[in-house]
Amino acid sequence: MTTGTFTVKRGLADMLRGGVIMDVVNAEQAVVAEDAGAVAVMALERVPADIRRDGGVARMSDPLLIEGIQHAVTIPVMAKARIGHFAEAQVLQSLGVDFVDESEVLTPADEAHHIDKWAFTVPFVCGATNLGEALRRISEGAAMIRSKGEAGTGNIVEAVRHLRSILGSLRAVGQADAAELYGWAKELQAPVGLVQEIAATGRLPVPLFCAGGIATPSDAALVMQLGAEAVFVGSGIFKSGDPARMASAVVEATAHFEDADHVAKVSRGLGEAMRGLEGAAVGERLADRGW
């Protein structure tokens, strides 16, 4: 029996496809998320909207909080480490979390290097804004890629930009001939082996999920139709007027993303979505973190 292989890391990412992963800050919220049909929860001390509002250095969560959430639910529990902070990731692995998110939502710990994710048995998800960034993270061992979007804004525009960029470049690489793939590798600043692989298969070697700005069931349906394979919802659930109903509605809309009648049904009378931030009010772009 062999644990920690790339097959089992990627395998869990595959099992989460078509589902919704929700940010939760305590055990009570984790139970609400599980009750609504979340496939996993992301345990953290503050949702991105509050990190943005409060400022200061954002770090890995207290192990006590993560353990409380692990005990409260039966679904997978993820947690965030700072970019490049492999010691935080080691602690999360020691806690037995199911996935580590090396996340730009926390304050980066290393301005040049991401974590060497091959050194871990726990799988990692990393954010990306374009195909080159996605392939660099995969070459470092990431078993799942998510769009960065712009966390904590409730504005889907950045996630759409990132998904269109990643998927559009994938389609373009698929049209390239063998010689042009070397040029693509140079342009993407990514290993040529990975570029050749995506050219042959037409998809990333790991699942592509969407994160950063999903606030409504229609947002989820939009990104799933664009080609995301599952969605992360951060502030969008617990900053809404009725979190339990919003959570359930986003789960339904993600599963039935091509069925507008169904999305309409679950969207009716949901109450207020998170208020959100737009344009200059966003302040520092978290998506610019990561290299």
Partner: protein, 217 residues
């Protein structure tokens, strides 16, 4: 069955959440057509059904909200062939330990399973599983007396704690059943759709009425 589809069964793949695409590809490899099942109408005319890997609590809720739970339960009661892998096994079991209290299962398989019984993700593993005496009818492509072990991927997998007398154990790992069959019900704790070995899907294709020779490729 309409002309032209003889020997190529139409298998529904529950497509509410989970690793649906891998099952569709595996079914194509063993000569089956497939149809994604997201609502009750999608079940019309299927010769078999696959319950994929995913999160069983999520699948259980979405089965309820779509009305698919009762529709599938009815078809399973009528003897529709079904393949459940991992979460699909949990859904087919007669009793689930360590699940959610409101988690529903079809009870089509006389088995008690413990959800995530092998542990959390860091205990997820790959292994070669030995094929038991029950493999005979379905796994005939190995040497007659000693079929090759089956490569298997276990992801936060359920443990089959016990099975009824009516259940055949087709494969086991360290004495614990991991692939079982009860008449038209085939279920595994691991994910045959994640490996290139097609013997489990091949067996299921036969249960769904795939014609002799149709499984080639």
């Amino acid at each position: 069955m309409v002309a032209g589809s003889v020997g190529r069964p139409l298998v529904g793949v529950l497509a509410l959440q989970g690793d649906v695409r891998e099952h569709v590809a595996a079914l194509a490899d063993v000569g089956c057509r497939s149809r994604l099942v997201k609502r009750v109408g999608d079940l019309a005319g299927v010769d078999g059904l696959v319950l994929p890997g995913g999160e069983s609590t999520t699948l259980s809720m979405l089965l309820e909200s779509t009305g698919l739970f009762d529709a599938v339960a009815g078809l399973l009661g009528d003897g529709l062939p079904v393949l459940g892998t991992c979460a699909g096994l949990v859904l087919l079991a007669s009793e689930v330990l360590d699940g959610r209290p409101d988690q529903r299962c079809f009870g089509a398989l006389a088995a008690v399973v413990r959800r995530n019984g092998y542990g959390r993700q860091q205990q997820s593993f790959e292994a070669e599983v030995g094929l038991g005496v029950g493999f005979g009818d379905g796994f005939g492509d190995g040497p007659a007396d000693l079929p090759a072990a089956l490569p298997a991927v276990f992801i936060r997998a359920p443990v089959i704690v016990s099975v009824g007398d009516e259940v055949d154990v087709l494969a086991s790992l360290e004495g614990v059943p991991v692939l079982v069959r009860q008449g038209p019900v085939l279920a595994s704790a691991f994910h045959p759709e994640l490996t290139a070995d097609r013997r489990v899907h091949g067996l299921f294709a036969g249960m769904c009425g795939a014609g002799a020779g149709a499984g080639a490729g």
